[in-house]
Symmetry: C2
Subunit: 133 residues, 2 copies
DNA sequence: GAGAACTCCGTATATAGGTACAGAGTCTCA
DNA sequence: TGAGACTCTGTACCTATATACGGAGTTCTC
């Protein structure tokens, strides 16, 4: 019989700490499997990808709560999925726009690194100088 | 005479808390102006944009340390600017790629919201399913 | 020139996202 | 079958990123 996916195995496979898995359970980000009479919980294999997703979404600027929202959309507990998905998409589009601006600025720095730069002007700051505030 | 840009005025204009400005000074993210004999520090006007930049970079997934790095690049304290800028650019490109994948998945959810979704399969998770780990 | 509003400095508190550890029970495998 | 590895629960601790507060001094405004 294949080894059961217990919490330690899950954590190792997904590349996180066991305590992190427990933490995600505590805050409701992932479901805790029913505790079998024996006492050791067994996780479904998809849980590995779910945790990997979380770990990749974080450095994109999503909080755990936002990630929970995204996952819920994917889980298809519909109702207002469409509306919420559209909101998320708009937010993500804004992030892409900002990052693209930043990247363009870095391109400039890279190709013209002989910066005649003794002024208070900072090209990096300019890149996100949206006048929205 | 125009009102001097004291810390309160700076904070208000940039849309942050006074304590946040002090905090950024403490951690070295922005420079604290020399204290005049009177005791009230005066900030240069560019500081407003610098703080706004920080506040826009954070939700893109950058830590304060990473933002400090970016700003330093822009400030042109060269030496290894080119190399560091190239690293940052690569990182940002990866973020853009990931976000684009996520957005594409949301597009799918939005156009085909009648999800025949009773399986363990989750399209959102799939979107970042890079097999890099 | 007096009171309100502001600044300074130091310290304390808050929240998110983990990580660590203790003590007791369970599983695995030679 | 017994030692070592693992899990469970609960609680404590840690870092990053702020935010709040108290008491003393400064500036603005009327």
């Amino acid at each position: 019989m294949r080894k059961a996916l217990t919490i330690g195995c899950l954590a190792r496979t997904a590349g996180v700490n066991v305590e992190t898995v427990r933490y995600y359970q505590r805050v409701g980000l992932i479901r805790e499997p029913r505790k079998p009479p024996s006492g050791y919980r067994v996780y479904p294999p998809e849980m590995v990808d779910r945790i990997k997703f979380i770990k990749r979404a974080q450095p994109l600027g999503f909080s755990l709560q936002e990630i929970a929202d995204l996952l819920e959309l994917g889980d298809g507990h519909c109702a207002d999925v469409r509306v919420r998905a559209e909101e998320k998409r708009a937010q993500i589009q804004q992030q892409i726009t900002d990052l693209t601006a930043l990247k363009t600025t870095l391109d400039g720095l890279i190709t013209a690194c002989q910066s005649e730069n003794d002024t208070a002007y900072c090209p990096i700051v300019e890149s996100l100088a949206g006048k929205q505030a």
